[in-house]
Amino acid sequence: MTGQGRDPAFLAVRDLTKRFGGLTAVSEATFDVREGSITGLIGPNGAGKTTLFAMIAGFEQPSAGLVLLDGEEITGRKPHDLAKLGLARTFQIVQPFAGLSVRENIAVGAFLRLPKRRDALALAEQVGQRLGLGPQLDKPAAALTVAGRKRLEVARALATRPRILLLDEVLAGLNPSELRDFLPVLQDIRAGGVTILMIEHVMQAVMSLCEHVHVLAGGRIIASGEAAEVVRNPAVIEAYLGPGAAQRLAAHA
């Protein structure tokens, strides 16, 4: 299923490549994200996942390749234009507006579609509640915990009313109970009609959330498929655990 024909891809990435000088961070990455899905993007550290997101969201110019959103080519467009088109991203290294309150942070996102301050603040409040930031709404963003900042990243992006959300490791650094609270929130967002593409290392979350997973290693997509099936793929095991690991695991089994 490449998403062509009857079931066209909502987000289509074609041969996307990024070179930093001599280093090829992403190499001819090609994959699809279906509308209404939660799709995972996994891979070892330094695989090029964040770079791939940065290219899709317009923060880095690709060296080659195409990105299509709902059939329209969006390669290399400015981040703010993409946000208007309905593509929102979060940052792996959280980027709060440290001097503003949590409510004001979210309102910046809400202002994208709502010119009136009253409406933007109302949406900010609503999104903040939904993400469990209610009690912190009037605290400075700088005072949030790690988990709170991750939620704020998602809340701000969600307040732009996106059609697709790119989440970069929003579950990393959360403790088990925070994780348990957060998973339903993500499912709820998807249920609200937002497609999600998420980079994640927390395999438990990937297994329970994502119906489809792409694996990036060394800048290349080395496997795609259902989560349960992908983690058994020998190429994937080797990418994570090193050459020969798949055989060793098989020998043990």
């Binding site: 923060f59 400015k78 981040p79 946000a83 709060p96 440290a98 309102a107 996102g109 709404l137």
Partner: protein, 319 residues
Amino acid sequence: MTARETLPILGFLIGAVLVSLFVTSNVVLNFLVFTLILAIAAQGWNLLGGYGGQYSFGHAAFFGMGAYVSAILQQRFGVNAYPAVAFGIAAAAVLGYAIGAMVFRAGLRGSYFALVTLAFAEVLRILANATEITGGAAGLLISLNLGAGNLQFADRSSFLILGAVLLALAMLITLALEKSRLGAQLVAVRENESAAAALGVDILAVKLRAISLSAALTGAAGALYAQYFLYIDSNIAFGTWISVEALLAPIIGGAGTVFGPLIGALILQGLSEGTKLLIGKIPGLDLIIFGVLLILVVRFPLHRIPGLLAARWRGKGAP
């Protein structure tokens, strides 16, 4: 922006009118008018620097543009003072947009932005000093032609009211900005550009609007200066003094707040006159104190004081 939020500005205006009615000392009135001119220029800087985080070291460019265009139109082309001042403000805004278009498009930020704005102001100062239409090094006199129709008043208290009305207007504009989408986006740009871009903020467009508005306000201060003193030269209009004071006042009084520039201008001018009274007129002494104050404010940030004031009257919870 609600009626309640504009109350302090109204209070300021009423206070200014009362002062103009009861204070007769020319020294005091002069001090107040000058402080108001400074506060208006500083409010311009505050829009871009305080809310937008773009620290200009060259707001003299806009002050001088407002002053010179208004004065030249009156003096050389016989234009009435009101349209002349309006053109002066517009010219400053256009200059702000033009400088912004070049500088922000090139991606200059932080220290580079400060340096390049300083350079633009210096270029204008040298040009104004060397060309004929500006009166060159001798400067430019606006002919005395008293009358409200010419925006010239014999008594300083009328100027006090004029200055206070203009400053109140500038504060209303700032307050409206603070409560608007543009204001929220501008603050977002100040706090974190990439995060703002990810949320759909067109950074270049936001900065360009801010610098145009900022330049217009500082240009208005320049035009008012010319109208009050009826004389400008290149070192007054485009000199570094006004760039520095327009920056110092908001930083000392509270950058990114509506009343910060006025508070700062009052502190600066008060210190300046106070040292003259106490110690006598030693050139540069007041500026030495400003410099020390600037370092102290940076070292021990007391932004909470004006911040608290602002928080009190904007009500809890609202940004």
